[in-house]
Symmetry: D2
Subunit: 304 residues, 4 copies
């Protein structure tokens, strides 16, 4: 089969360690073999997209431009032609977040079949985050070092205690499915996870976002690192266009606010030399939260 070559995994099943005991390992992808005049697996996307237009576009647009067009216009069905399979070791509550992404296939270590291994996620000393004051679901800053030390030793002690009780239960003959009830939520578990590129990018959009729990960001970012060399053009386009990355979404009110500013530009010519003008305009909404969101976007757009 001399006219195909393998996707260049740097190593057979590249693996990135995450947190203290976790990891993400790329077990497989589709396509795994590519034509030797192709650079990456990206071709499988443009190839499928061209089905829609058959003869028409074939000569007009090259693969990279086509993929960028698809990404910019949210024509994402051809992205489903790429598939990835991972093995991951993650804390239970990260696993639960992953399972919520329903368009994926998975097999998870079962506490009914197996004795769970004694591995818990113990945060590092500089990673005990405090509850955010402004964001009900978020965290911010760290506890001071002394407190963090106490928290970590409490976590360790509780995990150890829980696992001892768990083992005692098993020894007493309690069914595994019942005994596991005492194991804490930061226990590590192992899962196989197979997902197509469209749904994986949606996952990364949400889980590499700074609003996501930091622990899941670690895994999401590891996944991103693993797939980037396999579909580089797609990832580049996604970095440029996704509103979770380089792009930005404006609401009707924000469009209106910018329009008001631009419409007002001619008036700026009359401003006396040396005087400063703040061109920024509020959006016309009652919600202070929405107003604050606009301010953040306005800063990225150049207003100070």
């Amino acid at each position: 089969m001399k006219d195909v070559i393998e996707i260049k995994f740097e190593e057979l099943e590249p693996k990135i360690n995450c947190l203290d005991h976790g990891f993400v390992q790329l077990l497989d992808c589709m396509p795994r073999l590519i034509r030797d005049n192709e650079d990456s697996a990206d071709y499988a996307i443009s190839e499928a997209a061209r089905t829609s237009y058959e003869r028409e576009l074939k000569t007009v647009t090259d693969d990279k431009t086509l993929i960028r067009y698809l990404m910019r216009h949210n024509h994402t069905s051809p992205l489903e032609m790429i598939e990835f399979k991972f093995k991951m070791k993650v804390p239970m509550y990260i696993c639960t977040q992953i399972i919520r992404h329903r368009t994926a296939s998975l097999n998870i270590l079962s506490g009914r079949y197996s004795v769970m291994p004694e591995e818990f996620y113990i945060p590092a000393i500089d990673d005990i985050r405090m509850q955010s004051k402004t964001n009900t679901q978020g965290s911010e800053n760290n506890l001071d070092e002394h407190m963090s030390d106490c928290v970590i030793s409490d976590i360790k002690e509780l995990c150890k205690k829980s696992f001892t009780v768990y083992k005692d239960f098993l020894e007493a003959g309690v069914a595994r499915e019942m005994a596991r009830g005492v194991l804490p939520y930061n226990l590590y578990t192992v899962m196989y996870w197979k997902i197509d590129l469209k749904n994986l990018l949606h996952f990364i959009n949400l889980r590499s976002d700074h609003h996501a729990q930091k622990e899941v960001q670690v895994f999401s970012n590891a996944i991103l690192s693993l797939i980037k060399p396999i579909v580089p053009w797609t990832i580049d386009a996604w970095e440029d266009y996704s509103v979770y990355r380089g792009g930005m979404v404006l609401t009707r009110y924000e469009v209106e606010a910018i329009k008001n500013i631009i419409d007002n530009v001619p008036n700026l010519y009359d401003v006396p030399l040396g005087e400063e003008v703040d061109t920024f305009k509020d959006i016309e909404v009652d919600s202070t939260l929405e107003q604050r969101e606009w301010v953040k976007k306005a800063e990225r757009l150049g207003w100070v």
Copy 2:
């Protein structure tokens, strides 16, 4: 709107308590209003099924017969026309099992947003099950009463200890998303769950089965009780035809074994009076597990 009536929920949002603190509550269903010449929501299934045949079958088959036909032949897409919405309080590890059923919609109490309530599943004294010797994933029989007592008090103590640590963490300012890591897996959580009848019956097939963990059977059976008065014809048909209920699936080898027995019947006439014959035949497979499965089915079919 005089020609429709409400689906007769016995009460507004009927609720069944499960385990010590859990429950299943039927919040809503679709259809909720039915024509007043209809007895149940079953009509929404036959109505949709008839779309396929429009004029043709309308007079031939009545609704009940049509539904039974659909169930017998696994033509289940019309079952998707019925939708149910539940509120449930379940232990975390039951929640994880429920999430695995991907064709459903759900919202779950989030340990990132909320302080989790102090409610844990503590098994009853007569429900501490032992690990099954024959079934790696199952349980069987109970621990003796004294041991069960010890197990329960260990569970209670550990849960209490965990929750104290959790509250201490929160008071110290640790982010909720991190603090929850010490909470054990038998913590109760609350979820909204919306699912169509086709996928719900698949759930019940698997989760009311005697191989399922007993705790999830409790919830699955509660769900079944709640939907049965709403789609009685469908549930009747399912009880008669599902291979997880009254039906049975035979493998190629089991079909062959029965055929061999039936073919052999004429020879039975020659059996001397008073002599007994065991007509049972093994199936021709190497696997002893598969052989044992056949024996169990054969017993249900009348062989002893």
Copy 3:
């Protein structure tokens, strides 16, 4: 059941005629009964969303604000708690476009079971559109009246001829499943379609967009009209925030271009009175198509 009232369907199953013989009919929705202190079905969204935060947010945010927040931040899982069921009569090729939206339940009139009715979509005289020169998949302007007349009479003739052949085949005893092969793609078919609000809004985003085929826009807009009185707050929020409606998405390059303009504002003070300045800036990309897309957005943002 005095504390609930029905969702106020203006009539029992409101119906909007589409094209010449088509229609969309709203058969049912969930919730269908709402509490009498509620105005609309929107409450089912906020109710489910609150599960995530339980106690925390209950008093802070009212329902409308919460729904707007969810829509703005693309937290769309609670939208899945609303379900709609439609009956539609559509041309076959519109049906195919509808089926492509996979997260929905459907039953379609089957040409294997039933004799298809003789109903074809015949475009109106002022709706014979020409192939777009700039958009390979689009149409623009109309054929002149004389040509349109010819086209219509050709369509009519061909449909008539096809249906005669079809009927002849059936009379000769040919199986319906084979005979249907001669029927043209503008034949009407009938379908039941059940879909949740999240997936329905995605459908409307794509199919009410001006890039969509005009015939499917007609059906999509009809659907929108039917659901708007049922979930008015959600639709309002969607009109304000969806990038397919009042909102807008900016790429990394467009963010950069606006930033360059804003950064340049102080220089405007030095512009001699009476002189005009064009503040518009190109984006830094090679693709002329992408440049053109930016120009269109820039116009909406106030640049001329």
Copy 4:
């Protein structure tokens, strides 16, 4: 990468011609590279299944036995770890049947973007089937040769006529999206189709079944031929256990009927020599259709 070998596609992208112009081509599968001590892609199933039991079962059951166990007990989630990608040319109405299987990814030749090629499915002379008298959705026997000849020439003439009108429309400038409305339903289209093994076997269960339209059986059988060498153990198990293949499903009434017969066996010893006894028993249902279904199964089980 010396410790992996390629999946042995006999040729790079094996292709089976179907009907007159159609085909199924296997473009890719996952896994595509297998370890050199593995014989087939089946290993990816057992590997994922073992995640659930980790240490426990590893030594107990070999891969083939494990896969057979999974298939027998309908534990099909590990089958999702295998993925296939096909290119297919199919008549439009077969395409519609394929799209109905929602858990798959696809891209289809678009009549909006492209001028459709002039290729129609014209049945062969010995394949013009008659409408079944007993099965409203089925066909049986063939028209006589003369009639078949007429039917075929009518189909050809109509297709030719339709395509001429279509081309005339395009030449007159009518938008492709409108012009396609006159094309008949037996027009060929081209699609990419990516689906996992679990969902593909469900497709084959339904579409290779003798109740399916013969034309879709042709494609389904071609697909089966293409995947069999890649996952031979799984296909073997499926042939033995699927109730659409070697297996059989019994209803509650059929289980009861067999039990009645077996219970009655001792009475057979009293039958006078030379006398024949019909041991067969009806099932206790009103439906004659259900009774007939039992008779068919009883025949397979040895009763005449």
